[in-house]
Amino acid sequence: MSPARGATLAEWQHDLFLMASFTAAELSSTRKTAPVNSTSIFVRFFEWLGDLSVFCAQLLRAVFLPPYEFREFARQFDELGSKSLPLVALAGAATGVVLSLETHDSLVSFGAKSLLPELLVLSIGKESGPIITALIVSGRVAAGIGAELGAMKVTEQIDAMEASAVDPYKFLVATRVLACFLMMPLLTLASDFCGILFGWIATTLTDPISLHLFINNGFKEVEFSDFLPATFKTVFFGLIIGVVSCFQGMRAHGGTEGVERAATSSVVLSSLFIILADVMLVRIIQVLFP
């Protein structure tokens, strides 16, 4: 690594750390009017991280040790997965249309119109599809989980569950995190499919091309290593959505304001962490699948 690059990375890490600590401190704050200084931000940020670590340890225990809540998992998979499908498909279709419209004229002016299908397929499959799906799901699912668990927490429903000798980490958390984890690649495939299909429709409306030829051209140079890692990296996005939203929901307090804070912070933090994770995952994929 060159010194210049090292310095940039260090600066980036510093900025990222400050941003994350500020966000976490703000979102975990219980006293809105309390004076905020850098020490308290850092203390609160590390408290938040500590709580998150304990939460993750509880989650791992709940996931791997029996008994398992299969029925609730199936319900959550349906609730979080199938009900996100129309939204994800719509977002994927819109992405395909926009990409087609935006790149068509540029490629025509460079005399590279025949590259449009391949560009569209690679662009959607490698990045647009996964990240847009993750952000859409983050908006819909993370807010839902954060608000639902937050409301259950502040109305003592989670305490009631524990008092009934039912482990809320197994019933509420593990089922939701696993559903998010496993549904993301499936939703991403659906989004990719809609993006490519509607990309072709937008292309053929301006410059007619058969679907068969579009697919042939689009996938001519594409290999599994282009699609699979990019699709499967979304399990990490699902993990982020599930863990962050359940964590924020489970630590909600303070009535309706606490529920609102849990829902908002679930979306903000999971979206932020998805984008940051994407930066690292893209680089890792580039190294592992050159």
């Binding site: 409301a151 429903q157 009631a160 009934s164």
Partner: protein, 266 residues
Amino acid sequence: MTASTDTTVHASNELRKEAPQPDAPPIQVKNLHKSFGEQRVLKGIDLELARGETVSILGRSGTGKSVLLKLIIGLQHPDAGSIRIHGREVTGQPRGQLNEIRKSVGFLFQNAALYDALTVQQNVAFPLERQRGLSEAERSQRVRELLTNVGMEKHLDKLPGQISGGMQKRVGLARALALSPDVMLFDEPTAGLDPITASEIDALILKMQKEANLTSIVVTHDLPSARTISNRLALLRDGEILIEGSFQDLQASKDEFVVEFLNRDS
């Protein structure tokens, strides 16, 4: 904070393997301390209940009455002290062991804390689905029995949001009794209810206590209710039990706080 070695929060491995002792008191609390930050809520509570006994905990708001119940069932952790249910230590237990103890304890929350996404019968069935090897038919029969006992058999498919506060308390009571506990904890069972509904809840609690010979702790501000359903009352002040005894014992007290408390509530 002074805690003797035998009341340490972290139970030893020997304690973790304890089995229920039939002759031990159903509830035994010793030298219980709990603080939230700088605020010391409980300062050495001692309480022991005999089988079938009902004790009401009285006191001003914010004196740690509900905290005491949550400590007893392991929803919160004490700073020091010992809590035993049928001789089994609650504090410092791993979750699995704690859940075994919790099966013998029912808890009625202040606002019933019904699962608002589940119907009345699903709420009552929830603990049964996970804790017992009952068939679907047996479970359904048990749920109906429980709801009939509290007079809610005609509202099986309603959501908690569609029934009144008094009805929610009834369903909460049915759910708390689902696992056939022999210890019950009531957190303000009549709070927010009109006098007639409160009397009905009292009658229901008395009926359940007689039928199942329950040992109960009732946290309440409702003195008439406490008189009706309790064998003994304990008045909490500044994190300590100021006075403990029958209602007559409390009435006979010359303590200014006790006199003021009873006169305000009577």
